[in-house]
Symmetry: C2
Subunit: 316 residues, 2 copies
């Protein structure tokens, strides 16, 4: 057993998940409790501290073994100082999270955004274990991303390194506006939202598809219809896969990672989706840049956030 | 005067340029002599060594002050071992360049490819001086690229990091095949070769353009015609600039560098070209990812290679 343990906390809108990792990124214990969003900022921060104390107390480890506490959280923040500017789903505004939690816990605290932290988790002990340069996609409501270079989160000049959902990749004629204000972002076609939008457009246009019998189309409906042979649904999924594969081909001659990892809800579509992405990637990437490069599903699932948060302590 | 000096050697098909840099990347002395390509491999390596010895002898520095010798050279090589597999324009095949030159000179030798080395030169003491994360383009016959992260050349898993000319960026319907075998690479539209091809196509199609009176169209002819108001030439330059700007928008959410630097022959077109690139970049890049990001011309010109080669000793 290692001398040090690393605590990760994954802060969501409704629940906070905390966990203890060893030095290899193995999640040894985890605990989940309510975020307390409705009680405001102080309550949220106190809950984080309380759950961290609790999980260590309930474990065979001593408080002295805690090397630090990493926090993964959605929002615009200054990473080095751990200062949260605004969070999309939490009442945290202009809060020095790192400073407050360091005072509460008496331990080193580091914060980073949720997509970066999930990428670090997969790179540390998930589908990218042992690989120094990894690029991760999280396909959910949006398209999140994180880039791990030399084993560490790569943030870039404005903290926009690895914001892969906002790569403008759909050609102008077919592009629609993204939530970020720009046209043709990957997120407009390769997220659950994008897939549902394309499906609704097809139904409204009167395309012949089994999706027209569904009231409230979800991305899973579109995948299921595609797998069952629905042509319209297949065209939509191919389009989502096409731009994912193209974005990876672009990244292959920029970051040239050894591995691409795809997680998030949509990745559950499995080989059906992955094979299409790989085919596009192979088509558009110079041979030398794809040699030995793999595109694999994430394996940590919902634990990626808590593991990666713990990883902030050793790997950032 | 610094204790150490850093020697760079830029190996071209016809000439070898060697130079002495101080610890800030200032080029203090340089010397150029024939490569000796026609005399074969041993002659080339002996010439490199001879020019390195000569430039130090002719300088006020002592041989003992030489911290190492960096070599920039075109070709497929294993960078850590300094082993050249093949070079496109030199008779060097399966040669342990680093080992041979270290034996000849008794100094540390490092090699890297010419585009990476030119990028390092600009990042060290050129248009990127003092900036840790820089992405460089070299617009010439092809489109070369180099990425500097935390002040060092970023090579990627297959050494394909920063091979920006091979980003597949032209949509399928308008794409042509690149020399690399793939479709729609940036190099097919934004290199001198690409610009000349588009101009010849326009003339052959019978488009009304002043270019139709020129026998052997060069990229400079197309720029000159565009600046003089020729609509066809302007459309061609806009297209070259469009895909450069789009590739930078993609890179802005991957590497998110603080500065893009453009060198090579085409960059001499100046603000006429740069303003178009910047406009496209601003259009397709999320606001947060473009804040404070600049797109600037390279300033070292032909010295970038020799300065960057010297930089291999301190910055790799």
């Amino acid at each position: 057993m290692s001398d040090h343990i690393y605590i990760g906390a994954d802060i969501g809108g409704t629940a906070i998940k905390v966990g203890i990792c060893d030095e290899n990124g193995t999640l040894l214990h985890s605990y989940e409790g309510p975020t307390g969003t409705e009680d405001g900022q102080d309550a949220i921060l106190e809950n984080i501290a309380a759950y961290v104390r609790k999980i260590v107390e309930d474990s065979p480890f001593a408080w002295e073994q805690v090397a630090g506490v990493g926090i993964g959280i959605a929002g615009f923040m200054d990473i080095p100082t751990g200062f949260m500017k605004t969070s999309p789903n939490l009442p945290l505004r202009n809060v020095p999270i790192k400073q407050i939690l360091e005072e509460k816990l008496g331990k080193l605290v580091k914060i980073n955004n949720d997509a970066n932290v999930a990428a670090l988790g997969e790179a540390w002990s998930g589908a990218g274990a042992g690989i120094p340069n990894v690029v991760c996609y999280t396909l959910g409501t949006g398209v999140g991303g994180g880039i791990i270079i030399h084993g560490k989160i790569y943030e870039g000049f404005n903290g926009m390194g690895g914001e892969l959902g906002h790569m403008s990749i759909v050609p102008d004629l077919e592009a629609i506006q993204c939530g970020c204000g720009k046209m043709g972002c990957l997120e407009t076609v390769s997220s659950a939202t994008g897939i549902v939008r394309m499906a609704k457009d097809a139904v409204e246009r009167g395309d012949r598809t089994s999706l027209s019998h569904i009231d409230n189309i979800t991305a899973k409906d579109v995948f299921d219809a595609a797998k069952a042979g629905d042509e319209v649904a297949n065209r939509i999924i191919s389009r989502a896969a096409f731009y994912l594969g193209k974005s990876m081909a672009a990244i292959a001659v920029v970051v040239n990672p050894q591995r691409f990892i795809i997680g998030g809800g949509l990745s559950k579509a499995g080989e059906f989706l992955f094979e299409q992405i790989r085919e596009v990637f192979r088509k558009f990437t110079p041979e030398t840049a794809q040699e030995g490069v793999e595109i694999l599903p994430a394996i940590l699932g919902n634990d990626a956030g808590v593991v990666g948060a713990a990883g902030l302590i050793t790997r950032s």
